[in-house]
Symmetry: D2
Subunit: 147 residues, 4 copies
């Protein structure tokens, strides 16, 4: 899952294209509800990297983005082999918490598959305390985080 | 994941006990946010079976419970080896939609791990149309469903 | 997934019972090939705990069992709702490597679902070097491991 | 996960590039052993599509590729954020069975992560009987399959 389309004008959002595999579906015939969250997580993580989050920095500092809340609506089931556009947009931030809004669309037909949002925070492990976001959030995205 | 505790007085809820495995965790040190939804789905499915939903009936009729919406709050990360109580309670129903409320608790310490709710409907596959719930929902749970 | 049956005579093996959930299946109608490995891992881990492996010890020492090789044969697909017996037997050890043999059976009918074996070693993280097994392996299972 | 590199000279193999996500890792610090099989399955499926296998045809005919056997060796753990090359090569066929050979490499350093092979067959669902491969296998890949 690699970034396939991206608005140059809006670095705060990213769209990646994924293709539904057999392991994403269940016997009911469509994509299992949990699989969509994997699609969203991949795109959200690549958006964070685009915004400056660094894998090495996270591990050295033991600071990781942690999900506090997810709300997800399932509109139409996707099917095996479907090509889907997964878009994540970095939204508002309040205190330690910032929101990512997401939607998954089947471009052939323009069908909305799922939509929703997630609240996240940066957490220092293993203490587990959420860190205050830098005033300039999300630019630069990470380096000003203080424990 | 088998039912381990169940209130005889309240057949509309079920608690199962699970132990966190390595594949439930990630490099951040805790349980990955997606794994909790697998725990909830297992308990919710066993609750449906307890209420009379039959695996064979579902497949023969091509009628499956489908999730329309999930809201989940992550309170405290669970860790590898943790024994967790996963409770699902069948809540209110409106038209085609019914709600399941869930929480995951670490009984050692009584720590709330996650909580949330899911809206579901019974859907005839492949038509995809949600079915009207029987007036006596949830008892009997399934046989009165009409396509 | 909790231990449900266990030969008192042979502490080196463990059988757990699992029920196949929707998320274990795919659109082909049966259990997806990857899901069986989750079943085996759960039983294998509970066998290790039965033999004395301690979750806290693993994390404090940063010593974890790591899989070096898996061979798995798929005989018959399991179906959603199936109750399966997952058996893991601790086999021979050579140097740093020990083998676990596994099989998954549908007791209703006695059908063999999958069988196979895995080679594992204990590895000190992050160095990544496999540790020599204690002479008394597997009893006591872990405490004599030296880095 | 989209095809990123492909030998034009050898349509029987495909290499895709994937990036390791948090949900691919576990608390041990590396990629969980089961996640690699998801990487391989994605590449193997895209190779099948490249060779002419059609998603719609599979569903209409209820004919799916089914794994009969997997052998996988784990050489070096991959880490979160790693960019990996996943290569699958369609190998020999005998009767109903054909083999896919795979390897996952971290190009930065040329490190071998995992290697192995899988035996597959085409199976008509729900009868479950493997189908004889066409004499011209793998070209054309599927249409000559007889039930």
């Amino acid at each position: 899952m690699l970034p396939s389309k991206n608005s140059e004008l809006n670095q705060r959002s990213l769209t990646t294209q994924i293709q539904v595999m057999f392991f994403d579906t269940d016997v009911g015939g469509g994509v299992h509800n949990i699989a969509y969250l994997r699609f969203v997580e991949t795109t959200r993580t690549l958006l964070a990297v685009q915004l400056g989050l660094d894998w090495k920095w996270m591990q050295e500092q033991s600071i990781f983005p942690v999900i506090l809340k997810t709300e997800i609506d399932y509109h139409t089931p996707a099917l095996v082999g479907d090509l889907l556009d997964v878009t994540v947009h970095l939204g508002e931030a309040t205190g330690v918490r910032f929101w990512c809004h997401f939607k998954i669309i089947r471009p052939a037909g323009g069908t909305m598959i799922v939509s929703g949002k997630q609240a996240l925070a940066f957490v220092k492990v293993p203490e587990g305390k959420p860190l205050r976001l830098p005033k300039t959030f999300p630019t630069p995205f990470v380096p000003e985080l203080k424990t």
